[in-house]
């Protein structure tokens, strides 16, 4: 009798194959496919967009390339699925993509209810202010009495009210239904200040007729931590995703860049030797090779290089690193040590 049951259960198990989400480990699946399927945006300046040659490039794209470099030693073994804000989580849950790297804000709700794990905060975003240079303002605290353009019904509007009230400043809201209208109003001088997420302010500035006439103030008044996301239920893949990001930060902290990574292997600094896999077998513990960080840094670069190339001084956007500086340089980007 028990044997018959076993046969029946085995047969049932065969006829109902497991859902893709809970099937064999994502790393094994990715390795057997030969590429990572990475969900990106359908086009956000600096984060993920196709360039003139039709290749995806940007900050979020480079994270997926780093992951591919760590696994395959080839940053091009990654395929991109452009996703909208609405279908991004469904695509991840259904297994259409292995990882979602699409400037997604980390919130408690998303982390728990949607069955997702946030890898880390690759970019600390938040609400900022843009003003005309001619106003000669250097801080948001000097904005008292200003008229502010914003979108209606967003958290942006609430944050704005809180910030001005807390600092006992007067202001006047000029709200619009869409982003484009808001920008147009700011450009035509209906208001003195434009407020939205800082990363968006920089890309908006690029689209204005004379970008150099506008400045983005240093104050960030809300928390929008952006980062890559993986599915619940695969800790090994979560670890790899997490440590790929940490490794890029640690490499920057230790001064290891794509230009000097080969020389750095000869370094006597034990931290660098561990980071580059010259000592110990930390990479194998992750299910990768020991030189996985060498692969990431040489093929894609450290965090600072990736930031600079896509968003920072080396790019068209020229975003100030602000909070995204390393903790050693006054920012809050801090990664656990590789050891």
């Amino acid at each position: 009798m028990t044997r018959m049951w076993k046969v029946a259960i085995a047969a049932a198990a065969l006829t109902f194959p497991a859902l893709p989400a809970s099937a064999a480990g994502t790393l094994d699946q990715v390795k057997s496919k030969g590429f990572i399927q990475c969900g990106v945006s359908q086009g956000i300046i600096g984060y993920s967009a196709p360039n003139d040659k039709g290749e995806w490039s940007g900050f979020d794209v480079d994270y997926c390339r780093a992951l591919a470099a760590a696994i395959f030693n080839d940053p091009n073994k990654v395929k991109f699925t452009p996703l909208s804000t609405k279908d991004r989580f469904t695509a991840l849950q259904s297994g259409e993509v292995d990882i979602l790297s699409r400037n997604t804000t980390w919130t408690l709700d998303r982390d728990t209810k949607l069955g997702l794990n946030f890898v880390g905060t690759t970019y600390y975003d938040g609400q900022g202010f843009m003003v005309k240079k001619s106003m000669k303002i250097n801080s948001a605290l000097e904005l008292s009495g200003a008229s502010v353009c914003t979108q209606t019904g967003t958290t942006t509007e609430l944050n704005l009210a809180d910030y001005f009230r807390n600092n006992k400043m007067k202001y006047e809201v000029v709200a619009f239904a869409t982003v484009d209208e808001t920008i147009k109003a700011y450009e035509s001088g209906r208001c003195d200040v434009l407020t939205t997420d800082a990363s968006q302010l920089y890309s908006t500035r690029l689209k204005l007729a004379s970008p150099d006439d506008h400045v983005i103030l240093p104050e960030i008044i809300s928390k929008e931590p952006l980062g890559p996301v993986v599915r619940h239920g695969d800790d090994q893949w979560f670890d790899i995703a997490k440590w790929t990001f940490f490794a890029m930060l640690d490499a920057e902290e230790l001064g290891v860049s794509s230009k000097n990574v080969e020389e750095m292997k000869k370094s006597t600094n034990p931290e660098i030797r561990r980071l580059l896999g010259v000592e110990g077998s930390l990479g194998e513990g992750l299910g990768l090779t020991n030189d996985w960080i060498v692969r990431i840094v040489s093929k894609v670069g450290n965090y600072g290089e990736v930031f600079d190339r896509n968003l920072g001084a080396g790019s068209k956007l020229k975003i100030d690193r602000g909070y995204n500086r390393l903790w050693t340089k006054g920012g809050i980007q801090y990664a656990p040590p590789v050891r």
Binding site: Q42, I45, P50, D52, S84, T90, A91, S94, S315
Partner: protein, 453 residues
């Protein structure tokens, strides 16, 4: 002396009509200024043109930037930034298709255009062969050229029972999977034999059944052989297709499959056979009741949750099937409208002449019904062509999607990039839709020649 003062000997030369009747002025008076209402309309139209045309011309031509290779060239201009379109043109047409392989879509475009022109222009001979080539051979050729061919076929029928693939260890010859073809040949022989014996047992002509089965299987085999054969083309997965290529693939597939499917469904809905009728009604009402976005979204993101682990269907194919079924349901209702306009006497007369159902439909009812609903059919085609932009939500970049993606390239971010891109998309869509519309008018004139007075 005669007391007749003057007699005209020849006819006086014809005087030109008064200025107010003939010539341009006359035409204008008759058509533009014939009454106070007409005058008001004319003035208003002229004012509207004067209001719209100059800014449009300024944007498209006079203030536009024509040369340059980065955003700096377009920063100061208030007109279109054409270098942006030029830089992105390859992407707008082919999407992410590898640059070295773009000659393949080119060949498919050219082949499709030649065959389609042959079909559309009445004077071109060999219509029958042409349509066989276009509807039968061209899709397979296009699939092989665009995708690269050399599909790996696994099992046919017997292979699902006996593990042939494992026995032959995936041996291949010219890209042909030997285990599959062994499977195919054995299965085909078996099916033919079964057809023979079953037909015989039922008292029908066994030879005929066997021959029909064999012919079908040989046809299927020929198609599969072409698909499995290794032509040495680099595989390009559908994820890399994009731009106008995807727009055309989706819309042409939708247009070509929706009409025959729609005709069958319309006939089914008017059929006297209850099962056929109920099925058709359910099918049509289901697909008309669901928005296309839902269909696409479900096919792309929900289907993988239900399919067994190993089985994946290509994303573009899923969208294609969704679009085809969706448009077939709409087409069915348009065709049914035409069918209802044909008086019952036509069918009765055909029956009296001894024509069967299909002959009646084929020779008497359909030619009249379809000619009546050409505007509706073409309206559907045009709607479908524009609806293809919805595939963006399932991560396929059609022309519009590709343009939107190009907006976020930091090296082209300027105040006018957005407008330039949308203006270009508008022009392209207009050319296609207007072309379809004009051709449909031509067909209408041709098919209604008998009814014209």
């Amino acid at each position: 002396m005669s007391d007749i003062a003057f007699v005209r000997k020849e006819i006086a030369p014809m005087a030109p009509p008064p200025l107010a009747v003939g010539g341009i002025l006359g035409w204008m008076r008759k058509n533009l200024f014939s009454g106070w209402f007409n005058i008001a309309m004319t003035v208003m139209s002229l004012a509207l043109i004067a209001l719209i045309l100059p800014p449009l011309l300024r944007f498209f031509f006079f203030d536009a930037v024509w040369a340059g290779d980065s955003r700096e060239a377009c920063l100061g201009a208030s007109g279109a930034c054409w270098p942006f379109i030029k830089a992105k043109f390859g992407q707008l047409v082919y999407g992410f298709y590898p640059i070295a392989e773009r000659w393949r879509p080119d060949i498919v475009f050219a082949l499709g255009a030649i065959l389609l022109a042959g079909l559309l222009i009445p004077r071109v001979p060999f219509k029958r062969w042409n349509s066989i080539l276009f509807f039968g051979v061209f899709p397979i050729v296009a699939l092989i050229f665009l995708g690269g061919g050399n599909f790996s076929l696994n099992q046919f029928i017997i292979g699902r029972i006996i593990p042939l693939a494992a026995m032959l260890q995936g041996a291949e010859l010219f890209g042909l999977t030997l285990s599959f073809w062994l499977d195919f040949v054995v299965s085909s022989v078996l099916i033919t034999a079964v057809a023979y014996f079953v037909a015989n047992a039922l008292g029908a002509d066994g030879r005929f059944a066997a021959r029909a089965a064999a012919a079908l299987l040989i046809g299927l085999g020929a198609v599969l052989l072409t698909l499995d054969f290794d032509f040495g083309l680099v595989p390009v997965e559908t994820r890399q297709w994009g731009g106008l290529l995807v727009t055309l693939v989706v819309s042409v597939t939708g247009i070509v499959t929706s009409l025959p499917l729609g005709i069958l469904l319309a006939l089914g809905r008017r059929s006297h056979l209850p099962i056929v009728r109920v099925f058709s009604v359910c099918f049509i009402e289901f697909w008309r009741g669901v928005p296309l976005i839902t269909v696409l979204f479900f096919a792309t993101y929900m289907l993988p949750l239900f399919l067994p682990g190993g089985l994946t269907i290509d994303g573009l194919l899923r969208a294609l099937i969704g679009v085809a079924l969706f448009s077939a349901a709409y087409m069915a209702e348009v065709v049914r409208g035409g069918l209802q306009a044909i008086p019952k006497g036509q069918t009765e007369a055909a029956n009296a002449l001894g024509l069967g159902y299909w002959q009646t439909m084929n020779k008497v009812v359909m030619p009249q019904a379809l000619a009546l609903v050409i505007p509706g059919i073409v309206g559907n085609f045009i709607g479908l062509f524009k609806d293809t932009t919805l595939v963006l939500i399932v991560a396929l970049f059609d022309l519009l999607g590709q343009i939107r993606a190009a907006f976020s390239d930091p090296s082209w971010a300027t105040p006018t990039t957005l407008f330039t891109g949308f203006a270009f998309a508008g022009v392209v869509y207009f050319i296609f839709c207007f072309g379809m519309s004009r051709y449909s008018m031509f067909v209408e004139r041709r098919t209604s020649a008998g009814r014209r007075r």
